[in-house]
């Protein structure tokens, strides 16, 4: 008989850090910011014991650039921060994308704008999916809804980042960071030995040894417009492929629903409970839960059946994902918003009440 022995109870933030270590991400650079400070604390304690490296940076600017250096040198790197800290890192994100340096980055997001507050938020949707940095680039973004899913995505992203030679962003709200759930941890992937980096990543700057024809340069400056255009075209070929291969979504009853809710992260879980409440009121609601926010699962909206009267984007922001939902839905159906912001979170009852009201309006 099972007795929970294969599971461990972990706080979200510690689970994320553990997943990163087990994923083989040997280097961590961080700076304290609520609500994710448990991550640098955990890393400072655990990484050195396990053959990894922790370094507390002087700022988020320092952290992202340490991550760039370590990544350019072939290291497998993890960083984490929260909304305003992620904003400071955007210069680096743009730089890493152009220079094709792998990285797994985690945003445990909070309310904004400005310093905002420290309670959970999703108002970084634009920041993470549109890129807060300059220029043409894309970063795949995954938005897990549970600690287990976050662990699995961070673990997988360690390989995805190296494969795509691009940062991968994990976007969670502060609730998932602060809560605890029983989880199963994956096996420890071995750290890449320093001496094997050049074989694994022939592009990395490691010192070329005896053969200077192997000299490597990691760069993003391209002064000739035609050269820069070629480079951006090349990056976008990669992004177009990623759009197909990294798009992830979960749906529930969208073929035959009165209304369809769209929500990610914790809000998707609140929506699941709201859907049960709506069922008791005779309203059948479906759910679209984007797991990848870029690439966004636009095509999934084609599966919404003819019974549906409206699509509702439920968000902890003033309505950011709703712009993608509108693109996905087109002019077929009305798209409405249910939202709270600033760290306020709707309960399942609030969500059900608002959804019922919208349903009555459109029906």
């Amino acid at each position: 008989m099972a007795n929970g022995n294969d599971k461990v109870l972990l706080k979200g933030n510690e689970a994320f850090a553990e997943a990163a270590i087990r994923g083989g991400l040997r280097f961590y650079f961080g700076y304290p910011i609520t609500p994710q400070s448990e991550i640098p604390e955990f890393m400072s304690r655990e990484l050195p014991k396990r053959g990894g490296v922790f370094l507390q940076a002087e700022s988020e600017l320092g952290a992202i650039n340490m991550a760039y250096g370590a990544g350019a040198a072939g290291g497998a790197v993890f960083i984490s921060s929260s909304s305003p800290g992620i904003a400071l890192m955007q210069e680096g994100m743009s730089f890493l994308c152009s220079a094709e340096v792998p990285l797994v980055a985690l945003n445990v997001s909070r309310g904004g704008p400005g310093i905002g507050g420290i309670q959970p938020g999703q108002a970084d949707y634009f920041q993470v999916t549109r890129g807060g940095g300059n220029g043409d680039y894309k970063i795949p973004v995954f938005a897990p809804a549970s600690i287990q899913e976050a662990i699995d995505l961070i673990y997988e992203s360690a390989e995805l980042a190296a494969y795509w030679r691009n940062p991968i962003m994990i976007f969670v709200d502060g609730i998932i960071g602060q809560m605890m759930e029983p989880v199963t941890l994956p096996e420890q992937r071995p750290f890449t030995e320093t001496s094997k980096i050049r074989d694994a990543k022939p592009w990395a700057i490691t010192g070329y040894g005896d053969d200077d024809t192997k000299k490597n340069v990691v760069k993003s400056l391209r002064m000739q417009p035609d050269d820069l255009e070629r480079h951006v075209e090349y990056l976008f070929e990669k992004y177009r492929r990623a759009e197909k291969e990294l798009c992830r979504v979960e749906t529930q009853d969208i073929e035959d629903a009165d209304i369809v809710l769209v929500a990610f992260g914790t809000v998707a879980r609140i929506a699941r409970e709201a859907i049960e409440i709506l069922a008791t009121r005779g309203i059948k609601a479906g759910l679209v839960r984007p797991i990848s926010l870029w690439p966004f699962p636009y095509d999934v909206f084609d599966k919404i059946g003819s019974r549906t009267k409206a699509v509702i984007s439920a968000e902890l922001s003033m309505g950011q994902m709703i712009e993608d939902v509108r693109i996905g839905v087109g002019k077929r159906l009305p798209v409405r918003l249910i939202n709270r912001t600033g760290g306020m979170i709707p309960t399942s009852l609030d969500l059900a009440d608002s959804a019922e009201k919208i349903y009555k309006e459109v029906n």
Partner: protein, 250 residues
């Protein structure tokens, strides 16, 4: 049998640099890479060059290198050093970069005693962006953003970076050198070697400031630029070792 009086160093890529006539970047490049070759470390070195005229260094230095965003090279090098603790790592930064936008990064890298070397090119002006006032621009010096000359009232006094860095315990070797005369250039090369040797011994952060020229943005001829450096810069930025604790000397 004749002995050549000049040979190319394998440390530099055989190409023309695109620095302006009379600019001393080329000399600094050569001193650094030639020293790495002489130490047998050229293939074990990793360099970082941030935005500014220095960003092109990877085209000329025959070393594995990366670019860095403006001011961030010391953070980038700190990351590289964590991955490759046995390699020689250095940053090559100008004054607009290091002494202005990158002050946090350089101060904290020095404070942590990061085991890499920073080569600081101080020519009292922003070069690449077209001659704007730098934190190192001298009082009275004209620039495109101090067109009547820098004043203390408006911009404060220029920062003496080597003296600033030498207040930090993690910096175990700090020296200011100049590139205006053959004697000064020979002394500069010794400083480069010293910095790399101390880095190799794992003793801490090493920093060499090169007083350099920018005739284009100073608006003077190359020979006059050398004179201008000697007459204006050296009095305000005195040459010499600013910090080298006894345990490092031994």
């Amino acid at each position: 049998m004749s002995t050549p009086v000049f040979t190319y160093t394998k440390g530099m890529i055989r190409t023309e640099t695109n620095f302006c006539p009379g600019c001393t970047h080329g000399i600094a490049h050569r001193l650094i890479t030639e020293t790495l070759v002489e130490m047998g470390e050229i293939g074990n070195a990793i360099g970082v060059a941030p935005i500014g005229c220095s960003v092109q260094a990877h085209k000329f230095m025959n070393v594995d290198m990366c670019e860095a965003a403006h001011g961030r090279a010391p953070a980038v090098a700190s990351g590289i050093r964590r991955v490759h603790p046995d390699k020689i790592v250095y940053t090559y930064q100008g004054d607009g970069d290091l002494a202005s936008i990158g002050t946090a990064e350089i101060v904290h890298a020095a404070a942590r005693g990061e085991k890499f070397s920073t080569f600081f090119i101080n020519n009292c002006i922003y070069g690449m962006t077209g001659g704007q006032m730098a934190p190192t621009t001298l009082i009275g010096q004209r620039s495109t953003t101090s067109q009547d000359g820098r004043t203390k009232a408006q911009a404060g006094n220029p920062i003496r970076v080597s003296e600033l860095i030498s207040t930090l315990d993690g910096a175990v070797y700090v020296e200011r050198v100049a590139l205006d005369t053959p004697a000064h250039i020979r002394a500069a090369k010794k400083a480069v070697r010293r910095a790399f040797e101390i880095q190799k011994a794992g003793l801490g952060f090493t920093f060499v400031e090169f007083l350099s020229t920018c005739p284009t943005n100073w608006g003077v001829t190359p020979p006059d630029a050398m004179k201008w450096l000697a007459e204006n810069m050296i009095p305000y930025y005195p040459l010499g070792v600013k910090r080298e604790p006894e345990e490092v000397q031994a």
